[in-house]
Amino acid sequence: MTPDALALQTETVAAWTALAPAILLGLTGLALLGVDTLWPDDPSNAVLAGVAAAGSILSFAVTGWFLVAGTGQASTGGAIALYGDALVVDGMSLFFTLIFTVVTAMVVVAAYDYLDDHSHRAEFYSLTLFAATGMAVMATANSLATVFISLELASLPSYALVAFLKTDRGSVEAGLKYFLIGAVSSAVLAFGISLVYAVTGSLVLGDVAAAIGTPEMAGVLGLGVLMILGGFAFKTASVPFHFWAPEAYEGAPAPISAFLSSASKAAGFAVAFRVFVQAFPLEAVPAGVDWVIAFQVLAVVTMTLGNFAAATQENVKRMLAYSSIGHAGYALIGLAALTAGGPNGDVLGASMAHLLVYGFMNTGAFLFIALVEHWGVGRTFEDYNGLASTAPIAAVAMTVFMFSLAGLPPFGGFLSKYVLFYSAIEAGFWWLAAVGAVNSALSLFYYSRVVKAMWIETPVADFEIESRPVGLYTAVLFAGVGTLLLLPGFGPVIETAQTVAATLF
């Protein structure tokens, strides 16, 4: 046993504390199981939701503090590599952890009301927190092995959460579909990783990049890269592994739809950004393995398919599911507009900032659906007719989300989309920006249908809204205020995102 082999165990105490956000999320999940262990018959919903929210907000605060204090960034000596380079804490991982934790906090607060008359609440909260832990680890994964493990840690609780409404056929069917497609894409990802390992002889991203220049077995490498891309396409709900998304988002409990379409998608992008930029750098990959072209095709197809399919939906939740696929297409520009020596940090940073804004506006929109489901109003556009007269505050928030998702000026979504498309033009891909802009214009059509139904149409049937659930309202309004505040506050966000993204290249 050489001392080198034991290097893994001689980390200083200070270094592992950089993982505090992920550790806090995991401990909160365990604490929720502890609460359920102490009172197995009737754990109080308020206690469970309180513990879950406190844990995720604490983790959010720690992440924000790290980001401001410069942990893992250039100002304090660069990225912190842990456990033999298996994990790395840097600005990008903290930025993404910020998205995961704030979405988790909103989701668990909203779930307090949503789960009012359900059993197995402790399982719901703890699975959510464990999935969030997996996402936080995904953002820090620096080796293909940890990439796979953390992706599974985020996915497995998600499968169970989608099928949480055990007696609802839609939920169970959605869970099964999500699980089957997830299993196939995990297999594809693992196979891709094995091929890359066969060519480069390493799983650590940096070592893969160092060994990638040898032209020997470029075909096998290309196949491996393509398969890894497929695995990430599943997690981000991009073409060609997107078709689980409409079913899963529609069938799942609405807070879980919010969680999956915002946090889980962002986690997929976090890991895709790091793997492709760090392990397969454009300067080093052999000519046959030009993955940027693959991402360009995927970005265009994903955003077009998502938006066109969304325009034809009658069900609001399903429309949001397809719009979420469309937004995955926008975020893919972050990888599709990369060039050797181009303004790569700006492009990637713009995509990260868009995912942060998207985390607020999309979570808010799905939580509004949760609110409507809680009231027992139907699911189609017609059922939303006249909602503004009975629930004006929530309708205002929903209007903000819809216009922000469409990218209209006075909201956060406008600036993030503008910067994203602008950075694509800056990098020389004006046609990517053009396709994105055309799709955004189309998306205004179906987003405004919701607004029109709520404010202009008269209700087809009388319905009574007998409750104003505190948790759901808090979460929806928080998301709405966040979406609004991200307009004046977008400057520091995009600055941070582009600075931390630039250090990856």
């Binding site: 046993m1 001392p3 165990q9 359920d36 262990t37």
Partner: protein, 137 residues
């Protein structure tokens, strides 16, 4: 390509030997059909009942909990192998011991939770019991 030829030859031999043995014994042996030869081999015991036994679905939970210990073993084994040599080479006890304690601790939390929530409680169904006695009678 020569090493691939060797592998192909190995494959041919690997398939050929058992096939050859079966062919030779089929030619040489006398045919004496007998009822006992068709019976299921039960280590010399006389087989009783059918092989199509239904297991209780509740074994499923036991099997799931077994996986917890199974995975635990997989990590504890390599850890025990390096434990002593790591200590003798001057690695602090806490750096060697704590990760494993944390790992086992996480599993214990899960196990205790499952236990408290009735995962190992054997639910007796009166209907199933009745059917069982009827089938056996």
């Amino acid at each position: 390509m020569s090493e691939w030829i060797a592998i192909g030859a190995l494959g041919l031999v690997a398939v050929g030997i058992p096939l050859g043995m079966m062919a030779v014994s089929a030619i040489l042996r006398p045919a004496v059909p007998e009822q006992g030869k068709g019976a299921t081999y039960e280590s010399g015991e006389i087989p009783t009942g059918t092989a199509r036994v239904q297991f209780n679905i509740q074994y499923y939970m036991v099997a799931l909990l077994f996986v917890v210990f199974d995975v635990e073993t997989v990590l504890i084994f390599p850890w025990t192998v390096i434990y002593r040599s790591a200590l003798s080479q001057g690695v602090a006890l806490s750096t060697v011991l704590w990760p494993m304690l944390a790992f086992v601790g996480i599993l214990v939390v899960g196990l205790v939770w499952a236990w408290r929530n009735g995962a190992v409680e054997w639910v007796k169904s009166p209907l199933a019991n009745r059917q069982k006695t009827e089938r056996n009678a």
